[in-house]
């Protein structure tokens, strides 16, 4: 059997200075090429789970393996293959980067230390910009874009990386309706065509993509349900009055 894309075994993560784990005893396996949605109320631990998977947050117990390797040991190298769009971001006007650089920077990890970006790297970055309709903004400072535009830049940055795994935390939160549809379609296409493994956090149940058949319900740091979309969504509606 192929190695799973993501594998968590009794994982808990405690934030520094806290005593209560933000997620606890998480057992989770995502096969390569799966598209899975995570739902749950505010403070459930959704963001914590994503950042535990890519190792931005060190887990305090258990084992996190991504693409067959231990995140605690190969963090930076694994992250160069995991696209992540954070839920929260804020770039003020003084941020000293242009949009094209931000997108290209998504590839810096995989380019490796000391090496320079090649023509290929620039081409991939340009492609990602175009996929998100940002070509015209390429030379603008990131801090002077709107929130929705910034979110699209972060999406482009994650795609420019040509990731094997994509972690998306409320990726539609700043997008208008048309952009939402476009981005959802784009993600579904990459998932289909590139066998991309996608884990997507959503609070809007309507936004769960058509092609997503598995949903995970998180609450108070634990996985409450993990299974067929209809069943989990119904359970969520029952317990949280959705």
């Amino acid at each position: 059997m192929a190695t799973p894309a993501i594998e968590l075994k009794s994982v808990s993560t405690v934030y520094e200075g806290e005593r209560v784990p933000a997620i606890r005893d998480i057992e989770l396996t995502l096969e390569s090429g799966e598209l899975v949605a995570i739902i749950g109320p505010n403070g459930a631990g959704k963001t914590t789970l994503l950042e535990t998977i890519n190792g931005l947050l060190p887990h305090t117990r258990g084992q996190v393996r991504v693409l067959g390797r231990d995140v605690a040991r190969c963090g930076p190298q694994l992250r160069s293959h995991i696209g992540y769009v954070p839920q929260e971001f804020q770039f003020d006007e003084t941020t000293p980067v242009l949009v094209r650089d931000v997108v290209l920077m998504g590839r810096y990890g995989r380019i490796g230390l000391v090496r320079r970006p090649t023509a290929e790297d620039r081409a991939r970055a340009q492609e990602a910009l175009e996929l998100l309709g940002l070509a015209e903004l390429a030379e603008r400072p990131l801090g002077k874009l709107s929130g929705g535009q910034q979110q699209k830049v972060l999406l482009a940055r994650a795609l420019a990386k040509e990731p094997k795994i994509l972690l998306l935390d409320e990726p539609f939160s700043h997008l208008d309706f048309a952009a939402r549809e476009g981005v959802a379609e784009l993600i579904a296409r990459w998932h289909r065509e590139r066998l991309l493994t996608v884990l997507i956090v959503l609070h809007d149940l309507e936004a769960i993509p058509q092609s997503c058949h598995r949903v995970i319900l998180l609450n108070e740091g634990r996985i409450r349900h993990d299974g067929a979309r209809e069943r989990v969504v119904r359970a969520f509606a029952l317990s949280y009055g959705g």
Partner: protein, 273 residues
């Protein structure tokens, strides 16, 4: 003509070279200090370097060595505190600045017979005559090393200066680079101490870079302008110090502040509020 203001040209070139190199190095590193909000850390480091140098004078040990130790020790202790933002920056400064200053003054006071000698005062506000040919070579080496480091790891530094979390997200390890910056800042401060003085060395780490940030969003250009402005501020400060017979450090501060003020006034990035 072989002299200017009664000084031989060779000394003038040494001074000018020293000022230019100090300015360039501080300008380049200042880009990191400003963007990573290491100001209060750098401020404390420069006073620790001053305290170290004063201790050196008191004990009759080479002041530069102890200044280096003082600055780097501060970086090693405060680096992790600043990195995790456990204490607000102004708290660090508020507590440690008086301490390092007090230590420096005590050491100066204890320095046998030299308390108010020119070498002791030079540590405080910088001295034209502290710069020797040897210092020039050291500064040249340091400037070269820093320029090379920035060139080699431009990508990583750019990612770190943009957003540390996103740098990590893309697979760039940021911690080694963060500490590399702190280390280089410590060395720079210690070397710049003689020329600019412990009270004021910090201004060269702040003004040129802060000025450069007012004019560009492109990090390559910001690095370039910060280094160039460092050279300009330091050399003009040197000129002013000669012309009006002011302490060198103070003259550099006057020029830098004027430059920064002009930049803010004319900046295209200035906020509209």
């Amino acid at each position: 003509m072989t002299r200017m203001y009664g000084l031989p040209w060779s000394l003038i070139f040494t001074l000018l070279g020293g000022a230019a190199l100090t300015g360039a190095t501080c300008g380049l590193l200042g880009t990191f200090v400003v963007r990573l909000r290491l100001s209060s850390l750098g401020f404390t480091m420069s006073h620790a370097a001053f305290a170290g140098a004063a201790l050196g004078l008191a004990l009759g040990i080479e002041p530069l060595t102890l200044a280096l130790i003082g600055a780097i020790l501060t970086a090693a202790v405060l680096g992790p505190v600043a990195e995790r933002a456990k204490l607000p920056a102004d708290v660090i400064t508020g507590v440690l600045f008086p301490l390092t200053m007090a230590l420096g003054l005590i050491f100066l006071y204890l320095a046998p017979g030299t308390a108010m000698s020119s070498s002791a005062l030079g540590l405080l506000w910088g001295s034209l005559f502290a710069m020797a040919g040897e210092d020039l070579l050291r500064l040249l080496g340091l400037a070269g090393a820093i320029a090379l480091t920035v060139w080699l790891f431009f990508k990583e530094f750019q990612a770190l200066l943009f957003d540390r979390k996103l740098a990590e997200e893309s697979g760039v390890p940021t911690r080694p680079f963060y500490y590399l910056i702190l280390f280089l800042t410590g060395v720079t401060i210690a070397l710049a101490l003689r020329l600019v003085g412990g009270l004021l060395v910090f201004v060269l780490l702040q003004s040129p870079a802060a000025t450069a940030f007012q004019f560009s969003y492109d990090l390559k250009k910001i690095f370039f302008w910060a280094a160039l402005l460092g050279v300009i501020y330091a050399s003009m400060g040197l000129g002013l110090s000669f012309a009006l017979d002011l302490p060198l450090g103070s003259a550099i501060v006057l020029v830098s502040t004027l430059g920064f003020g002009l930049a803010v006034w004319s900046s295209p990035k200035r906020r509209r509020t």
